[in-house]
Amino acid sequence: MSKIRFEGVSKTFAARGTTVTALQEINLDVNEGEFLVIVGPSGCGKSTLLDLLGGLASISSGQILVDGKPVTGPGLDRGIVFQQYALLPWRTAQGNVEFGLEAKNVPRRERAAKAREYLDLVGLSGFHDRYPHELSGGMKQRVAIARSLAFDPDVLLMDEPFAALDAQTRDGLQDELLRIWEKTGKTIVFITHGIEEAVYLGQRVAVLTSRPGRIKQIVDIPIDARSATEDLRSDPQFAHYRHEIWTLLRDEVNKARSEELEVNRV
């Protein structure tokens, strides 16, 4: 049985008197412990897909199963990492990690120890008493990842988590995330619009079409032991998959762009 299963999931919005279809007939299986990346042009409904999986928005038709049970709302079996970190600015790094544990009703004494453990895991030992405004973007995202890992969800949902970071920080955090994934064995659903990021991280990459979002193709990226490879990005295999996904996406990006122009012209 797959860990996560999308069965004919559609999502429509009512906007300005008309209904907009954001997602149409999504069928997708994610295996236990898999790192799945969803990539698509901007505005294709990637984030909506994650909101549905996170239980933060309601499904228009179809259903999403996690461990065979349909998603009806948010739950601590799924942890979400947002692009804009979503840290509580009045809490320290430690306090932010403990926030998730409070939601899970972990006893106070355990919370502190757990929070330290996970801050160590994301490489933030010694930064536990810093406030978000004292941390760089990359460090904030590490705190957010630690927060989502600390309450021990089975599934980690990541919504373009590195999009707001500079290239160098992003590369570093990608390696870090792979290391954490291998260490914790979580199932990760990762959303991005970056092709290289998708190939670098994903065991499988699902390419979405432009609006309405459908699964165009799912590409297997059978590169083993990613974190052990010295310079994966210059590997010919990497270039091959990059090109494959680029080709799949190019048409969608063009379509999305011309549609946008059309709308603006009207």
């Binding site: 996170g54 239980g55 933060l56 709302g73 948010p74 739950g75 601590l76 799924r78 942890g79 979400i80 947002f82 804009q84 979503a86 509580l88 600015p89 009045w90 926030f99 998730g100 409070e102 939601a103 899970k104 406030y131 978000p132 405004h133 004292e134 309450f151």
Partner: protein, 287 residues
């Protein structure tokens, strides 16, 4: 700035030279300049007050203004000292502060919970907003006669008018504080499965605290401003009464002594509230 000093030729050649002094300054002379600027800043701050004091002292003495209506500052200070020594000043200040504190405190107790309620429950906000708009745009002093009419000339009407004046800034800031919480924080908390009560307690309330404190600071300033006007109507003690009474009896130095006292109290209260506000919102000022 550094690019300016690196290319002095270009700067000189340019038609507009914004800071000619900065452009010609050698880096070695920067440090003494900073010290100079700092002392300059301090001097500037003192200078304006000093100049006012000086003008106040000299103009009446030179006969440029009528010394009967504006006695020299030194005479006012002597009058102030006399009032202080006789204990009169303190008793008036005490009466004033008691009224201010009562109205201000009551406003905090009522307006903060009410504001949280209005901010959190949209139907309540929709219901009450038009009413709030009407009242916030009605000057508190315009309603003072109503308060006197209904509550009489005693303490109740004075405390009530201060309470009324303090309520609006606190209420409106609390409502906006609750309503402008970063939606992403709420989304993130919801994704953790937090129920409405804990969401409010752990996210909305702490996020709103700085905005609420801004309202409390504004209300603190308002409490002193309204106090004086309220005390000018049928009071038997208080700084507003002192000022009014001194004017009626032509004890002009006493009147100015009262004015100086109230302005000092106003400054002090505001400073105190600014410091408190800063303590509660350190995380906001940096982000």
């Amino acid at each position: 700035m550094s690019s300016l000093t690196e290319t002095p030729v270009a700067v000189r050649a340019a038609p507009v030279v914004a800071h000619p002094a900065a452009a010609t300054a050698a880096p070695a002379r920067r440090w003494p300049r900073q010290v100079l600027r700092l002392t300059g800043n301090v001097l500037t701050r003192i200078a304006a007050i000093g100049a006012l004091a000086l003008v106040w002292e000299i103009f009446p003495r030179l006969g440029l203004v009528d010394a009967v209506f504006l006695p020299p500052l030194s005479e006012v200070l002597v009058a102030w000292k006399d009032l202080l020594v006789s204990g009169e000043l303190w008793s008036h200040t005490e009466a004033s502060l008691a009224r201010s504190a009562a109205g201000f405190g009551l406003a905090i107790l009522v307006a903060v919970p009410l504001g949280l309620l209005i901010g959190w429950y949209t139907p309540v906000a929709n219901l009450l907003n038009p009413l709030l708009e009407v009242f916030r745009n009605t000057a508190a002093l315009a309603i003072l006669p109503v308060f006197v009419l209904i509550l009489g000339l005693g303490e109740t009407s004075k405390v009530a008018i201060i309470f009324y004046g303090c309520t609006w800034p606190i209420l409106l800031n609390t409502v906006s504080g609750v309503r402008t919480v970063d939606p992403l924080l709420i989304k993130s908390a919801r994704s953790l499965g937090l129920g409405p009560v804990r969401l409010f307690q752990k996210v909305v309330l702490p996020a709103a605290v700085p905005t609420i404190f801004t309202g409390i600071r504004l209300a603190g300033a308002a409490s002193i401003l309204i106090l004086i006007a309220a005390e000018m109507v049928g009071a038997k003690a208080g700084l507003g009464y002192l000022i009014n009474y001194a004017q009626f009896n032509f004890a002009v130095p006493d009147m100015y002594a009262g004015i100086i006292t109230i302005s000092a109290i106003g400054l002090l209260v505001n400073q105190l509230l600014v410091v408190t506000e800063r303590r509660f919102s350190t995380w906001r000022t940096h982000s």
